[in-house]
Every structure is written in structure tokens, then in C-alpha cells.
Amino acid sequence: MSSSRTWRPGLRGALAVPATVGLLFLLLPLVGLLARAPWSGLPDLLADPAVRQALQLSFTSATLATLLSLVVGIPLAWVLARVRFPGRRLVRALVTLPLVLPPVVGGVGLLYAFGRRGLLGGPLESVGITLPFTTAGVVLAEAFVAMPFLIVTVEGALAGADQRFEQAAATLGASGWTTFRRITLPLIGPSIAAGTVLCFARALGEFGATITFAGNFPGTTQTMPLSVYLALETNPEAALALALVLLAVSLLILVALRERWLRPART
């Protein structure tokens, strides 16, 4: 069956070489990581307090960033999918901007919004809230970069979801809120789960916006990607160990999403 997919055997031969080069290019870094990994010292490295601190901070901040994205991202996705208003296309484009924006630029933007001299930073500081260079800043930076993944996934599901079930719920006396909670959300549950996983993965790997907006302070803002980068200079073995942890998480996510990976979600 697979051999009959293409009717141009000549073309297959010609494209096989660059295709192989492409595949090797993508796989070699993984092989490199695995080949040089300090397997025997791994338990000790991961037990190192500094490494554990980075691990813990990363998972905590990525989880909080994902929760924040869920709380505001799902309503935003719903509005984009279901409410007709002027400029909807523009808003949708702006929401997805962080997907293509260099994260460093996002970090600079966050500084000028929530930084000491930022639009909201000044008023916030006067009531005693400081965001830049804190763990809260890490969460914000990660949410900024990761939330669009959730929004795009959920909005696609909402746009494609069958509104006839919501109509049926209304005829049974359910208010808009009850319908949203008991019908709409469960029906798009798989997409919310997929969007959440994508969002978490992106938040966990965040580097550029985090280091720009939140800095690099061990224990408060130094997440795993930052530690990996810094450890390469001082303690390459620790860098490898941390990289392996991130790789393992990525593989887990890939397995969790394999359904969607094979059949990409609508956008």
C-alpha cells in the first residue's frame, strides 16, 4: 500500500536524499544528547539542590502560567469563536501574535507594560505589587508566550463544535452559563486538554521572554531552560541532566498528543 502512494518512482529517488539529510539533521541533536548523557551520575545530578530548585520552579511556574491561561484563555477563545463584533479578525490576529513574535520582544514588551516605568507597572508598584524579576514575572512571561497555543486550539474546537446541542440544552431550560458549563465545555474537553498540554509545554520551555522580563535569579526566576544555558559553561554534566529532563517531558507530551499530531486540529 505504501509503495503505491506515489506514481512517480523517479521523483521518489531524487527526493530521498535531501529527505534523509533533513531527517538526520532533526535527529542528530537528540542522538548527541543521549550519547553524551551522564547516565550513571544522573540520580546524583538530579538530587543536587540547585538542579532541584530549578526543576521545582519550572514546574510550578509553568503550571501557574497554564492555569492563568485556562482562566482567561478559554473565555477569550469563546468570544472569538462565538461573538460577532467589529474587528474580530484583527483581535484574533493580535491574540496569535505571540506565536510568531520573538520571545525576547515579548519580554521587552512586558517590561514596558508591567515594569517599573511600564504602563501598569507604576500603578501596581504604588499598591505594593512588583512583577518584573519575580516568580510572578516568570509566570506572566510564560503565560504571554504560551496562552495563544491554548486559545487557538480551543477556539478551533468551539468554531467547529455542534451548536445544536447547546440549542437542545436551552430548550430544556438551561441558562447560558449552565449550558456553557455542562454542555459546551465537556464537548470540547479533548481540545481543552490538548491545548492545555501544548500551553504547558511551551511555558516549560520558555526562555527569551522570561530572562528579559524576570531575569535570572536562582530560586526565584531561574527556570530549567535558563539553568541549562548557564550550566553549559560551569557544569556541562548538570546541563545535560536538565536537558534530559526537558526532553523526557517533551516526549511525554508528544505521546499524549499523538492523535492530534497525526491529524492536526482545525484553526
Partner: protein, 356 residues
């Protein structure tokens, strides 16, 4: 609890205008070909489709009044809807589907579930309460949909093609369940269908819609006796000819003549029961039948204890004969036959549409 509805829905290329009254306990069948506006009518009454003009009253409640801008939201109308494709919530069990209405309107979880179980049991669905819709058969899903609509105790029941997606055996089964439920239901019920058997079996009154307008309404007997359009005649299985009568002879609009005993002149409808027409292999010379037509047999279809035969004559005819007659005459499609009909077997009445 009486429904008074004047419904006008205008959309690009389609307009629905219907006046409808249904008394408490009455079942009205809304019949019509595809695209006639039947489902739109139900959607408008349920509040899912906004009216362009009109007014809907259900008992003491004014649900819609375009003139004053009043429109009661869907969830506040006490209207039970059974959708054509059931629309059972796929992520909820049969019990939770049925309990959804009461729970959404403030009944405690426990009481709502007890209600749901009672309804499921009434509809013969014991043991299926924990099953998800995907695991239900068509007939079971239809019963769950009925239970769900009735469990919230609606004032008006709207049924959109409730039996159309069921196979023949299940259909007659669910039909009798539906008949019992409707007999018991205190409010008015509207049943959209394009199946005359459902309409005749379940409804007290028929309303026929064509192209967004009511072409006829009345009791099933009234409508069957005096169908107002070829669609209605076909629906109730009659030959209906539209034409002009002159001294007892009806000149059929599409060609051909009927000799009748009617004294009417002008635009008329002539109705012939398919069982009144006789078929012969050769011309029935010496017969008392004053109408004779030569024609070729089209289709033969067994419908119950009869065979319905279409004869390509001028005008074309539908003829009902017994299977015995088909065997005796060795009738098969393509045969040349003679059809004959007594003048007294043709009912002629003025064309309500007045068109020729």
C-alpha cells in the same frame, strides 16, 4: 393551555407565514415536502429562530410579539422539543440526559435523577439509564429524547420528524409509544412529519405546508377526502386532477379529460380513489364505465394488501389492485393496459387555489 401562533420568518429566498392554533391535548401534524418550512416553524415556536413578524401566545404567556419587541428566551419557554436527530448529549448517560432539564431548572440532583429514572422506566428503557447515547439503538435513542423533552413538564411539545430515522419495525413500535404519550399529554403538541401514516395515526388535525404557507388544514378525514394540492393527494394516496370543468367534462391541466357527473363549471379539482379504477388487458367494450384510457404500466409497488400501479396514460393514473389481480392479469411494468372509471367515482369540487 392553547397555542395561538402567527409566525412570519423571512430569509433570503424563503419566507414562512403560518397562522396556527392548537388546543390543549390536541396533536396537530404539520405535513409538507422538504423545504416547506416545517422545521423553521418549530424553531420559531421554540424561540430558536427569531420571528420577522407575528405573535406567539401559549396559554396565558405571551412568548413573542414582534410589534412590541417581546421575545421570551428559549430557556424560559416551557416548550419540549424532540429534534429530528435527537441531539442527545453524547457525554451524558441516558439518565443524565433526561435529568438535564429538571436539574437545569433548579430541581435537586437526587430528585431529578429519580424523575429521569421514572420516565426511562415508563418508556421501557429500564437498565439503560447508565448507557451513553452512542451505545443506544435508534429506537432507544428516540425514546430517551422523548423522555428528556417530557421530563421537564413542558406546556407545549414540538416533535420534529420523530420517527423518520427509524427502521420500519422500530417505527411502528415507537409510534404506538408516542401515541400513548400524546394521548396523555395535557398541552398542545405539534408533530412535523412527511409520513402520512404517522400523521394519520397520531394527529387529531393536519396542517399542510407548501413553500412556507399553509395550503390546507383539517381533520385527517377532511384532508384525505378533499386534498387541496397534488402533494396532499399523493400524500393521502389519491389521484388529484386540477382542471377546468365544462358541462360535466373536466379538461385536465396537463392533458386528458374526465367525464364526471358533476354540474360544476370553471376551475375544479377532481379526486379519484386509486381503488376505483379498473384495469383490463384489452379495451373494455360494452362496459358501463364512461372513462377509458389506454396506457403503459409504470411501476408496481406492494403497499400492504394492495399493489399500487402507476399507469402512463393521459392523464397519468395511480391504480390500486389486489396481488391476485396482478397475478391473474400477469401484469408487469411496460405492459399496455386499459384503465376504466365510472363517472360517479370521480369527486369534483371547486379548486380552492382558483388556478387553472
Amino acid at each position: 393551555m392553547t397555542l395561538h401562533a402567527r409566525v412570519q420568518v423571512d430569509r433570503a429566498g424563503f419566507s414562512l407565514g403560518v397562522d396556527l392554533t392548537a388546543a390543549g391535548g390536541e396533536t396537530v401534524a404539520v405535513l409538507g415536502p422538504n423545504g416547506a418550512g416545517k422545521s423553521t416553524l418549530l424553531g420559531a415556536l421554540a424561540g430558536l429562530i427569531p420571528l420577522s413578524a407575528g405573535r406567539v401566545e401559549l396559554g396565558p404567556a405571551l412568548l413573542d410579539d414582534v410589534a412590541t419587541g417581546r421575545r421570551v428566551p428559549v430557556e424560559q419557554r416551557r416548550i419540549g422539543v424532540v429534534f429530528q436527530e435527537y441531539r442527545l448529549f453524547p457525554h451524558l448517560s441516558a439518565r443524565e440526559n433526561v435529568a438535564f432539564g429538571p436539574r437545569s431548572t433548579g430541581t435537586a440532583k437526587h430528585a431529578a435523577r429519580a424523575d429521569a429514572d421514572a420516565w426511562l422506566s415508563r418508556l421501557g428503557l429500564d437498565g439503560l439509564a447508565d448507557v451513553r447515547p452512542a451505545q443506544l439503538s435508534g429506537g432507544q435513542a428516540q425514546r430517551v429524547a422523548l423522555a428528556r423533552a417530557l421530563c421537564r413538564q413542558p406546556d407545549l411539545l414540538l416533535l420534529d420528524e420523530p420517527l423518520s430515522s427509524l427502521d420500519v419495525a422500530t417505527r411502528s413500535d415507537v409510534r404506538s409509544v408516542l401515541r400513548d404519550l400524546l394521548a396523555e399529554f395535557a398541552g398542545p403538541a405539534l408533530l412535523v412529519t412527511h409520513d402520512p401514516i404517522d400523521a394519520l395515526a397520531l394527529a387529531d388535525r393536519l396542517v399542510v405546508l407548501e413553500e412556507g404557507a399553509v395550503v390546507q388544514s383539517g381533520t385527517p378525514t377532511e384532508v384525505a377526502r378533499r386534498p387541496a394540492s397534488p402533494y396532499v393527494a399523493k400524500l393521502v394516496g389519491l389521484n388529484l386532477f386540477r382542471g377546468t370543468a365544462t358541462r360535466g367534462v373536466v379538461h385536465v391541466a396537463g392533458g386528458g379529460e374526465l367525464t364526471t357527473d358533476s354540474a360544476l363549471d370553471g376551475p375544479v379539482l377532481a379526486v379519484v380513489r386509486p381503488s376505483s379504477i379498473l384495469l383490463d388487458r384489452s379495451e373494455p367494450i360494452g362496459s358501463s364505465a364512461r372513462n377509458r384510457w389506454a396506457g403503459r404500466l409504470g411501476s408496481l409497488e406492494a403497499t400492504g394488501d394492495r399493489v399500487r400501479i402507476s399507469v402512463a396514460s393521459t392523464p397519468p393514473l395511480l391504480v390500486d389492485v389486489t396481488p391476485q389481480a396482478v397475478a391473474d392479469l400477469r401484469l408487469s411494468a411496460g405492459d399496455e393496459v386499459w384503465a376504466s372509471l365510472k363517472a360517479t367515482d370521480i369527486d369534483v369540487y371547486p379548486d380552492p387555489a382558483g388556478r387553472v
